[in-house]
């Protein structure tokens, strides 16, 4: 799915991201952990070609993400509010993203309906612009909009941080089933090592821009992370 070689991004001479080699495969749920400033969000932005890398290459299905734009058709992301058009209502935003993915309004309506539990009656048909929603609800809108095109690569930055407990658990289930049902490659960053170890099939631990651990998810990963973060 994604092949990274010699990726390097520096700010004022300091490495923000430095990854020599990394491959991501379909069907994987990758949990990205690391303390603040480890370079998680910068890495995500590099994956989406939102910042210019100093060195290296990122290939998506074998094509450079800078030279081509085809990756946009199967890649979706939600990093922050910068991915929401805040003067639209949620419905309008879904229709907009849906249309770009060749979905009709009816398709979008059907799709949204399957997530009504996740939305908890707080999003649809409220007559509010996205900018007037709470941060948690904006996050829900962003996540569902990212799912609209049934992407093959999904990038979520700290999705658990702003959600209420029920939604966090629902999201864990959603991510797991999407990866198995649709063979999606999902990358999730989080500070919640509980959720991350539960949801991920593979965990990448970042420190000062580099990936210092690349381990399989599960209980063993959980205790390894506890050990790592305790020292700090």
């Amino acid at each position: 799915m994604i092949q990274i070689t010699n990726l390097r991004k520096t700010y004022q001479g300091v490495d923000a991201v430095k990854i020599d080699h990394l491959e991501l495969y379909p069907g994987e749920v990758i949990g990205l952990v690391g303390n603040n400033g480890a370079g998680k969000t910068t890495f995500f932005r590099l994956l989406l070609d939102l910042i210019r890398r100093n060195e290296g290459e990122i290939l998506s299905k074998g094509n450079s993400i800078t030279e081509t734009e085809g990756w946009k058709s199967y890649t979706a992301a939600y990093i922050d509010e910068g991915f929401l058009i805040d003067y639209l209502t949620p419905e309008e935003f879904f229709y907009f993203v849906g249309k770009l993915n060749q979905l009709s309004k009816a398709d979008v309506d059907d799709f949204i309906a399957t997530y009504h539990v996740f939305f908890d009656g707080a999003i649809i048909n409220k007559g509010k612009y996205i900018r007037d929603f709470s941060k948690g609800n904006q996050f829900k809108i962003g996540i569902i909009a990212a799912l609209l095109g049934r992407p093959e690569l999904l990038i979520l930055d700290e999705p658990f941080a702003n959600l209420d407990p029920s939604s966090q658990l629902r999201l864990v289930d959603m991510i797991k089933s999407m990866a198995t049902d649709y063979k999606m490659c999902i990358i999730v960053s989080s500070h919640d090592i509980n959720h991350v170890s539960e949801v991920s099939s593979r965990i990448l631990l970042m420190e000062k821009g580099s990936i210092i651990k690349d381990i399989a998810g599960g209980d063993a990963a959980y205790s390894e992370m506890v050990d790592y973060f305790k020292i700090r």
């Binding site: 939102l50 910042i51 946009k72 979706a76 990093i79 922050d80 509010e81 058009i85 309008e92 007559g127």
Partner: protein
Amino acid sequence: MNLSVFLSHQWLNFWRSRNANKSLVIQIILGFFYLLIFIEIAALGIALPFILKEKMAATNPISIYTSYLIYYFLIGLLARFQFQELPSLSIQPYLTQNIQRKYMLRFLNTRSLIHFINFLPIFAFIPFTLVVVLPAYGAMAAICFCVALFALVLNNHFLNMYIKRKTVNNAWFFFAVLVFIAALKGLDYLKLLSFEKASSSLFLSILHYPLLCLIPVAFALFIFTVNNRYLKSHLYIEELVTEKKRKGGKSFAFLDRLGDIGEMIALDLKLIFRNKRPKSLVILSAVLLLYGFMFYPKYIATNNDAMLFFFALMIIGIFIANYGQFLFSWQSSHFDGMMTYNTNMHQYIKAKFSLFLTVCTLQFLIASFYGLLSWRIVPIQLAAYLYSVGVNSFVTIYVSTYNYKYIDLRKSASMNFQGIGAMQWLQSLAITFGPALLFFLLNRFAGFWYAIIVVSLPGIIGLVFHEAIINWLVKQFNFRKHKILEGFRER
């Protein structure tokens, strides 16, 4: 916690805001610009009494001056609707602090008074009072006259604050007052009812019976109290700022047929109509359509085709210039998203061009009615239209790829220089003065029709080869894409 602390915070807020960190050159240009406006207004204010004295020697300058005061205050109210903001949000961080409400109210009221519009009367009233009223009626009358006028300014000020706080939809009120003023002027013009005379006699009576100035003072106090009481009982951020109306629903169904590009244009239209700053710019573009009535007749009479062309460019091209100067910046708050949604840049840029083309065509069609003034207007406007869509639109898109500045959509447009860089100034010069100069030279040395054809030609070429130009623009955009994104993330 006294007032000066609040105000010093505001002062810091002004100087430390993101957009205050502009380059020195821009600061100097802006400073010069402000100074120029200031000097002009001061000079006009000081010269006014002398002009009136000289030109209207036969009639009484005071009666002329006072007859227009009614319009001054009405138009002032209108201007306030448009330009004056409620400073409500600035108290948000203080609400949870140990500060008594009355201090916050005092701050809100004082803060709202510090506004450009409230400093104008100093120049409009005081020189006139000193030069004309004082010698004729004496000190007592002059002082009371001034007191009455300033009381009316405050009256307008707090009335506007109150209306803005009370009503959700200012636009309706704005047009009501506009129609009211037009009706007054119309009745005056048709000599049915003279409000100018009424205005004059009202203010003259203050000069004869100075104590009458207490009436406007009482009015001002009354509206101030009403406003204050309302504020006191609504000192919650949500009640002070949010609108209660149900949002959304308005869609542009006719654009559906255009596919993804139509969807992008609809997005731009929603951006315009749902956000303060672009909305006021577009309203300005619509108002500018009326400028023809002001300028065309004069230059038709003097056969000055170059000036006609210059104003035609302004009238028809203003949307491109106004909206286009921040073409990508308007979307700066969600540009990360725009760059990852499932679209390609060609489509994105083409949608921008199509928006320009659509609106500009609309402006051209409406402006065509000016052809009734003189047939020469028709070819001149056609040339201006072709130049605008075929050249200026692409130039504007190109220049936009150099604009890395974030824009907050919700701030109002007046005196808002957020996101303006040196490029924008150069651009606005280049896209109006350049072709106007070309037209002037050709018209003078080669003839009217040569000028029309030569100026239209690049526009036609641009339209014919628009696909190729868009491809080139996409390349230009991609060169600077990361820089734009980085700039937009800096808030």
